[in-house]
Symmetry: C3
Subunit: 342 residues, 3 copies
């Protein structure tokens, strides 16, 4: 009578990272985020189905979980196991799918799907393309940079002539006492993503707005795509983030180009990402990152992999890979690991 | 060789709650508590069986767990995943069942089984019937209001002419240093429940005593029953809670009447709950709550549901549904959601 | 497509412990540590296989997890569920096995495998044989006494003429700012274990070094073995721990002798453990513990069990079983419980 799939990923890599110092560490999820979960779908007849999905991120190097946010504003301290990656129940029909709970934001999915490294490991392009959301500038990111709690998601049905898309409305449950200068319900998130797939092409435009009482709302527009031609797959991203921190308007314009070349069970990956963050009345900062990766797939579930990354900061840039750098210094990283899915 | 059932519930509802203000939120477990767990039973031959049950409550709106108590006195901060709902191992035989671990208290089960809303969501009658245990008065509840850690449970065998029952002895492990005025082992709980089922009737009497060093022990006597007549099921509850807080004797006399009308895959539910809390030398406080609910069962595992609730406080009453109210003000709530079991 | 085994143990016992006072409690894992987990192995062809193992310890008396350490130096507060027992991914081939993540240290495995009580419950010999690592002296133990995070493990292949073994290199990830007097990478662990099995004998030598910035590294050499002769199994251990705490050299020389007598589904276990901790310029302290145990195996998965333990402290010894004792006082414990594996 029970109907559940237990699934997961255990992915561990040794990383050597350089900045103004250096660090060797065992890191979890450098190819795909380590996780475990439970999911299932029930056919209800008449074209209807119910689905659920519970997915917990883990730090496989220590056996612990990943930080999470209950109210989309404050990150809970510690890295305790929770279904922080996804926790949803939904109904699927001819109308598409409606689901509720904690889920990925549409704009974060756009960043991930069009990054040749899938936004994992030291070659993750979102370091630059989501610099404001992650909080790499002035330490003021948002908790809805990747996922949102208290969300309702609507997904378009398949077979719309190649078009696909979904939207999210996440409730800000922190609104009992509006603050002065309050710009909406603190902790809310609104997002949508619309794509078209066909003829080897998959392109999508996404938008996300994270609503904050403590600063101006953070908005992100992202356009991404892949084009597959035989064993070659091309990746492209254009992203603009905007927010106002302590009265200073910040705009992050970033882009990335990537390539995946598949040779049988092997794959070579390359990517260039660049970002320039304009700050009203202050000097811009930015960086360009160059990454080269390799995968050897022992099976559909198991891969050995490696990557090298070099981050070139401009005069004000302080982007690092885990070891802090002074403005303008460069950072680099090497990783080699193994990923197993179950 | 492995012999385990993975099971759970994901239940999410949108609630709109009114008190002296209002709040819209996504809430977990408004029909049945969201959870996941592992359970199993092993036939040992000769009428013996071993069983285990691990069940973790989750807040499906955020992916996190539910607060828990290690020593039955202090609630652990944060809502981290633990097998807070149940964590037991037991032996079943002709003598009945003996099990140990963390489990539901007998008196809490009586409250739940004879509430037409199963003590879930905004129409939960235990808001009034367990007001002292939950801590709605003077903020002084007990951690053993629903479950107890460090417990041993004995369950009567089946086939006793319709009689059924069980008892719990939970150890208070905080007794190394007896406090002045100490009334037993702090954190202990004693409870029992005896019922009779037959001829469409199921009635049970339950008693629970939570032992506290910080205040007088909290006692609860509860009588409940259901009577099923064709598509109609009637629910009734009578409850008395007693404790002394800061030298003031508190007695909560409460009762509820409910009805469930099943129409094919649909069900209509109605319930009235009333409570009056007498306080020695002070004015009484109390409230009456009116609730109406609806279920549409898409399958045995999946339901869509809704409910409306209105709480009428008496002059001193401050019962609310999530948005605080001034004494004598009323509260109300609406919810609509989906529950899926796996 | 999913390929995972869900497994676990729920083990609970009632313990009555005596020291300078007494305590009755429900205790988890008195025969085998309570746990749940996910594990699996994938055949990759050509003699290769991938494996993963996620295992979370639980306190079945409360439903919660067990403390853990992220950086091998500081224990995370609280007992939240994490895969604290093991969290690894590995590759198995003719060369043996290489795996990474959080795992048991080789020297801790030696202590466990050659303790007739498997280092569980009140008769656990590691109380004395690992007194310095556990922190029973001067409250200065190590977090890598049983397991280490951020580890790489290499296991010898089978069929080496009865020889078997493995080694661990756990990274100390706390090394960004070397401290004065720093003796290596804080939180690192190095360990190895080499054994030989044949002719009813299984003997192994193990070594472990936990690297600490706050005090001298802690080293442990352990020699252990079992000899099986019909229904009798003999256990022996010799252990030396060494560290320097606040400038005082500490050396713990300990040993144990145990016996397991199997009579059909029953087993009788007996063990004597003795420890003497020399402290440069201070008086030695130590104790001898006598334990007698019994198991009744209802099946391969389910057992009822009991044990009695008596700890005789020497003049300075303060070893206890959960209830503190003054120097030279004795401690004792009785337990009776049930273990079920799934």
């Amino acid at each position: 009578q029970s109907s559940v799939t237990v699934f997961g990923v255990v992915d561990l890599a040794v990383q050597h990272l350089r900045g103004d110092g250096h660090l060797t560490r065992l890191e979890s999820g450098a190819l795909n985020g380590s996780r475990f979960g439970f999911k299932g779908q029930e056919d209800l007849g008449g074209g209807l189905a119910a689905s659920f999905h519970l997915e917990a991120g883990i730090n496989a190097d220590t056996g612990r979980g990943r930080p999470n946010s209950i109210n989309n504003v404050v990150e809970t301290p510690g890295d305790f196991i929770s279904f922080n990656r996804r926790s949803t129940v939904g109904l699927i029909g001819r109308f598409g799918e409606v689901r509720a709970g904690r889920d990925y934001t549409p704009v974060a999915d756009n960043h991930t799907d069009f990054d040749v490294f899938g936004n994992s490991g030291n070659a993750d392009s979102s370091l630059l393309t989501q610099a404001l959301a992650i909080g790499l500038v002035a330490g003021r990111g948002v908790r809805t940079d990747v996922r949102a709690s208290n969300a309702v998601v609507y997904v378009l049905p398949p077979d719309l002539g190649g078009f696909w898309g979904y939207g999210m409305y996440a409730i800000g449950e922190n609104n009992n006492e509006p603050l002065p200068g309050f710009r909406g319900r603190d902790g809310g998130h609104r997002g949508a993503r619309l794509g078209w797939e066909g003829a080897g092409l998959n392109v999508a435009l996404a938008y996300g707005k994270s609503i904050l009482a403590s600063q101006d709302n953070l908005e992100n527009v992202h356009l991404g795509g892949t084009y597959t031609w035989n064993d070659l797959q091309f990746f492209g991203q254009l992203s603009r983030e905007r927010t106002t921190i302590d009265g200073v308007r910040h705009t992050n314009d970033a882009g990335a180009l990537g390539l995946r070349y598949t040779i049988g069970v092997q794959a070579i990956k390359a990517q260039v990402v660049t970002s320039r963050i304009k700050r009203a009345g202050m000097e811009s900062l930015g960086a360009t990152a160059y990454a080269l990766g390799y995968e050897y797939n022992l099976s559909l579930r198991t891969a050995l992999y490696g990557a090298v990354v070099y981050v070139h900061n401009n005069a004000r840039g302080t982007f690092d890979l885990g070891v802090p750098v002074a403005p303008g210094s460069s950072a680099s990283g090497v990783q080699a690991g193994m990923r197993h899915s179950f």
